[in-house]
């Protein structure tokens, strides 16, 4: 049972990582990061039930992660709105002012 959860989480994490690196839409990039964090939550909850030594700590950890990820997403979207106002686009590959 545990193995399937872990595989699922690993797949989610990889999809998120791929999206964060490859996707051109900045909103999707933020979404991909959330996907990675949710993969972690899945891991934590699965371990807290089926792990070597099951304990509640994992679920508490997952709650912390969810709360902090929400704060992070809020800041991320706020920054993205500021960027959109200045540049008029959300295409991540057009945010290239700094490399010049």
């Amino acid at each position: 049972m545990l193995a399937s959860y872990l595989t699922m989480a690993a797949i989610l994490f990889c999809i998120g990582l791929y999206g964060a690196f490859v996707k051109r839409n900045a909103v999707v990039v933020l979404l991909s990061i959330e996907l990675m964090l949710n993969a972690v939550n899945l891991n934590l909850v699965a371990f807290s039930k089926y792990g070597m030594i099951p304990s509640l700590t994992g679920q508490v950890f997952a709650l912390f992660t969810i709360a902090v990820a929400a704060a992070e997403a809020a800041v991320g979207v706020a920054v993205l709105i500021a960027l959109f106002r200045a540049r008029g686009t959300v295409k991540a590959d057009e945010f290239d002012e700094l490399r010049r």
Partner: protein, 538 residues
């Protein structure tokens, strides 16, 4: 292993021990309200002075705590608060002193460089000053954590506050944006902030993913328990343990900006307001390095003691590989860099490499003062880096057309003829960054090299020496610009607060270079590995 956790409430005594962090958090809450009720016409510098005062207050309470411990008993015993989730010990306390010094210097410097009416004034001045406090508090949490959840919370408190700090625009940016009717206007701070949010988010996800496996294998998030459980489960789950630690090394590597995880650093440092760049360069790095140090010596070190080809040795080697890579990549890419902020960012990458060398060197017989090496180098790095960034913002302030982020190497030309004192201070920082004598940086690098040599990691010593030699070329480019060229047209105005910071940093760098033993002995006097670093469940 069955263990029970009872819910421990926080007592007043606990609150007293956590006073340094609580002061910062309480002052942040207070300053938010002050900012809200103050009329708009009142200068927000008052909030800056208040946050500087709270940083100093917090510093005093840390010093008081160290003294109090020293008075009470010969051997200072670490305190574990909230069921050992939070450790009050001398390792954390010493690093807190560093972090608070850095934050106070940055706040003081901002009071000069972001004064009302100057070029550097931010659009949201009040927010800048009170966001410095939770960022510092988060860094302090990281240094004294005994539990993965606490570590993660501190890390995110630091990160999320700095995401916002990076994105703060100056009044000038706002005015430019309003004036131009074109669609594309300068959005450097927002772009830097976005890049930082994305890389920061990825790094947290990496760290968390690693942590989740550690939790799964040991059933605990307490650092000491994980350490003791890992030695038992290590044989059956080698692959998972490797994976957990590699994810965590990568995540912390991004936070410390060590190559190959450094690509975000030049962009973010360039776009951020200069004091915030210095904050990222010094405080984020030092806090993450301290947290990584404590994690490694609790989780990996016990396992590496057992004989044979253990996972611990491989993990230490992985950290050393990252360190070597950071030193080489940082210095080599700084060679081609002409933008000063990006150059300092890349020099920060190289310095991150030196900073994590003591983490990768395990304790071997004669060699046991890794923590002192890390601490000393972090202290030297703090002063030289904040000083260099402060000089940069002073030099940029001389030209009205330029903003901090477009300062090129040649903006420094003839600085000696325009502002001899500032140029001499810069010489001290450059010497220290390059690791030449009579500077803190020299002894910092020397101690780390001697440490590496005493553990027979000669390849690493060679890489350190090599990258130092290459870096001379980079840093002497700055010196050449300052002395050999003469273009004495633009006079340099030094704001009093920025000047004070530059001279405090220069003096501290010199003191560390002339009398390194003072700081080193003090650290070794208060610090003991067993009491202060290892988090053992009692």
């Amino acid at each position: 292993m069955a263990y029970e956790r009872t819910l421990q409430s926080m007592t007043w005594a606990d609150a007293g021990h956590m006073a340094p962090e609580l002061i910062l958090i309480a002052m942040m809450a207070l300053l938010i309200i002050v900012d809200l009720v103050l009329p708009r016409r009142i200068d927000r510098s008052i909030i800056g002075w208040l946050s500087l005062a709270s940083l100093i207050g917090s510093f005093v309470s840390v010093v008081w705590h160290i003294q109090d411990q020293a008075d009470q008993s010969q051997e200072s015993i670490a305190l574990g608060l909230l069921n050992d989730n939070y450790r009050i010990d001398d390792f954390g306390a010493m690093f807190k002193l560093l972090l608070l010094t850095a934050a106070a210097l940055i706040a003081l410097w901002s009071l000069g460089s972001m004064k009302r009416g100057t070029r550097g004034q931010l659009d949201h001045q009040g927010e800048y000053y009170y966001l410095l406090l939770p960022a510092t508090a988060g860094a302090m949490l990281m240094t004294s954590t005994g539990d993965l959840i606490t570590l993660y919370t501190g890390l995110e408190l630091l990160s999320i506050s700095t995401y916002v700090l990076v994105g703060l625009r100056t009044k000038r940016d706002v005015a430019l944006q309003a004036a131009s009717s074109e669609e594309k206007v300068s959005a450097k701070p927002a772009e830097a902030a976005f890049k930082y949010v994305v890389t920061g988010g990825i790094s947290s996800a990496f760290i968390l993913f690693g942590m989740s496996y550690l939790y799964g294998l040991t059933g605990s998030t307490h650092v000491g328990e994980i350490g003791s459980m890992l030695t038992q489960t290590v044989d059956s789950f080698r692959g998972l343990i490797y994976m957990a630690f590699f994810f965590m090394i990568a995540g912390f590597g991004i936070k410390i900006a060590a190559a190959p995880f450094h690509a975000w650093a030049p962009d973010v440092y360039e776009g951020a307001p200069t004091p915030v760049s210095a904050f990222l360069a010094v405080i984020s790095k030092a806090a993450a390095a301290a947290a990584l140090f404590r994690l490694f010596y609790n989780l990996v070190f016990p396992e590496s003691l057992s004989n044979g080809n253990t996972i611990g040795h491989d993990l230490f080697r992985a950290v050393l590989a990252v360190a070597a890579c950071a030193m080489l990549v940082g210095t080599l890419s700084a060679l081609r860099q002409h933008n000063m902020k990006r150059l300092l960012a890349l020099s920060g990458v190289a310095n991150a490499g030196y900073l994590i060398v003591p983490i990768g060197l395990s304790f071997y017989g004669a060699h046991s003062n890794n923590a002192a090496e890390l601490f000393f180098y972090a202290a030297a790095y703090l002063f030289m880096n904040i000083g260099a960034f402060a000089v940069l913002s002073i030099v940029a302030g001389a030209r009205d057309s330029e903003s901090d982020d477009s300062v090129q190497l040649r903006t420094f030309e003839g600085l000696y003829h325009r502002a001899p004192w500032t140029a001499s201070a810069m010489i001290i920082f450059v010497l220290s960054l390059a690791g030449l004598p009579i500077s803190g940086g020299f002894f910092g690098k020397l101690f780390i090299m001697m440490g590496a040599a005493s553990t027979h990691a000669y390849w690493l010593v060679a890489i350190m020496a090599g990258s130092s030699v290459i870096s001379y070329y980079v840093y002497f480019g700055i010196v050449r610009q300052m002395f050999m060229r003469s273009s004495g047209d633009v006079s340099v105005h030094v704001p009093a607060a920025s000047g004070t910071v530059v001279w405090l940093c220069a003096a501290a760098t010199l003191v560390l270079g002339v009398y390194p033993n003072g700081l080193l002995h003090w650290f070794e006097h208060v610090f003991s590995v067993v009491n202060d670093l290892l988090v053992l469940r009692r």
